[in-house]
Symmetry: C2
Subunit: 233 residues, 2 copies
DNA sequence: CGTGGTCTTGATCAGGATCAACCCAGGTGG
DNA sequence: CCACCTGGGTTGATCCTGATCAAGACCACG
């Protein structure tokens, strides 16, 4: 006789204020608890690969996941870093296409895996959930359009400043005021859409201008106003 | 006593194979016909402006609409050209934010205007429609991510070639093989994300290389294979 | 210790942006 | 009817941002 797994998914996180799943009903959770399953991933491992068919979404419980595309020359373009409470992989599930991005674990991650059929069924039968999901995709679409404009029109300097602000907003700062997320210079470059050397040079310029402080990969924002001005929003 | 407008929206177009509205039910059309209204727009006029609140979506019946964002320095970044059968404005309706783009009429346009409440209600009550809408937004999201990668990593030459291919696929060619849509050089530049002069120079290079033929604004693709190669997909 | 990954700095190069003229066609109004 | 204007389109010259190449420095770790 098969025993229950000791821990299933933690459904409490589904009901947090900004969660896409906040309007899920009790009976739907029942259904979910039978089909959804917790999965753990080590830093550096892959949750899914660009071009592969995927069978469901992952709702991130803890950790950070890097979502990126690989350009024709093999260079990675980071689309975003996803954090707990965010849903990844849904784009491919609903557009019914192979994954258009790769999801790689940046910090050890725990997800709740939800099979495609469940997701699709939820959209069909729970209007409020459908609305929340449309809301989410539309918001991401707006951000993507914003980024297209930025990358097409702004200088690398402006974009780097903007990214630093975003990282602060999305991942917060620790007790010493350092950004919680730390990226390699190369990752910063792949997020900004520039060369590693350019990021290094600009970061040290920012440091010289007393806008930021650097301690290895850790970054502290010293002069927020100046950084905002540099970002030219 | 108020008379019926002579022509309401043409709902036949709602049921075409790739329409988001293809799963709308009979009774919902009844409801729609009371609330949706046909609107005509002249070339150059605006359907909505970036930053303004909008009260519904437009389902394009005929014409072409330019969707663009304005960068901090006032330069327009064209996101896409929308054609008959496409829905515009839904992003703002569902994300519940002001419009993040401007929609300007490129060729005289007829739309069917659908108020936000109707759209939201449809998502809530018609699961298949909700699914189609999510499908649509996810597809656009994938395209946006694709474009971010392109613009960050490819040369202007490659992007211009790619845009020409897209324009051919999306708007087709006329009996003389010219692209159906014709844009000013500046619009091409704002679509590719480069300067007008660069577009002009590259187009004449393409012409010298026998890849395309130019007749004013009209463009004919002579060597598709070479253009695909140039796009480096 | 050696070795591989990351970070840094300097030198050089090139893709494109910008600036400046000029052409051309199609209005418009005196 | 013509002078003028305006909005594209084109071409050439120049400049500059940022990519690329090359060489070390600085770890962290087996």
């Amino acid at each position: 006789m098969k025993t229950q797994p000791i821990t299933g998914c933690n459904f409490e996180s589904f009901y947090k204020p900004n969660s896409v799943f906040r309007h899920i009903l009790q009976n739907e959770v029942q259904q979910l608890s039978g089909m959804a399953e917790p999965m753990t991933f080590k830093k550096g491992s892959y949750i899914y690969h660009e071009g592969s068919r995927i069978t469901g979404c992952h709702f991130i419980q803890s950790g950070i996941v890097k979502i990126y595309k690989t350009g024709t020359d093999g260079k990675e373009q980071i689309i975003r870093f996803a954090k707990p409470g965010e849903l990844i992989g849904f784009r491919s599930v609903f557009s019914n296409e192979p994954a258009c991005t790769t999801a790689q674990v940046h910090d050890d991650t725990l997800t709740c895996f939800i099979p495609s059929e469940i997701m699709i069924n939820l959209v069909k039968t729970n209007g409020n959930f459908a609305l929340d999901l449309v809301h989410l995709t539309c918001k991401e679409l707006g951000e993507a359009n914003e980024y297209i404009t930025d990358i097409a029109q702004k200088t690398v300097r402006e974009r780097l400043a903007e990214i630093l602000l975003q990282l602060k907003n999305n991942f917060g700062i620790d007790h010493e005021q350092f950004l919680q997320i730390n990226l390699t210079r190369e990752e910063m470059a792949n997020l900004v859409g520039t060369a590693t050397e350019s990021v290094i040079r600009l970061l040290s310029e920012f440091k010289d201008d007393q806008i930021i402080e650097l301690q290895g990969r850790k970054i502290k924002i010293l002069n927020l106003a100046q950084l905002v001005k540099t970002a030219n929003l």
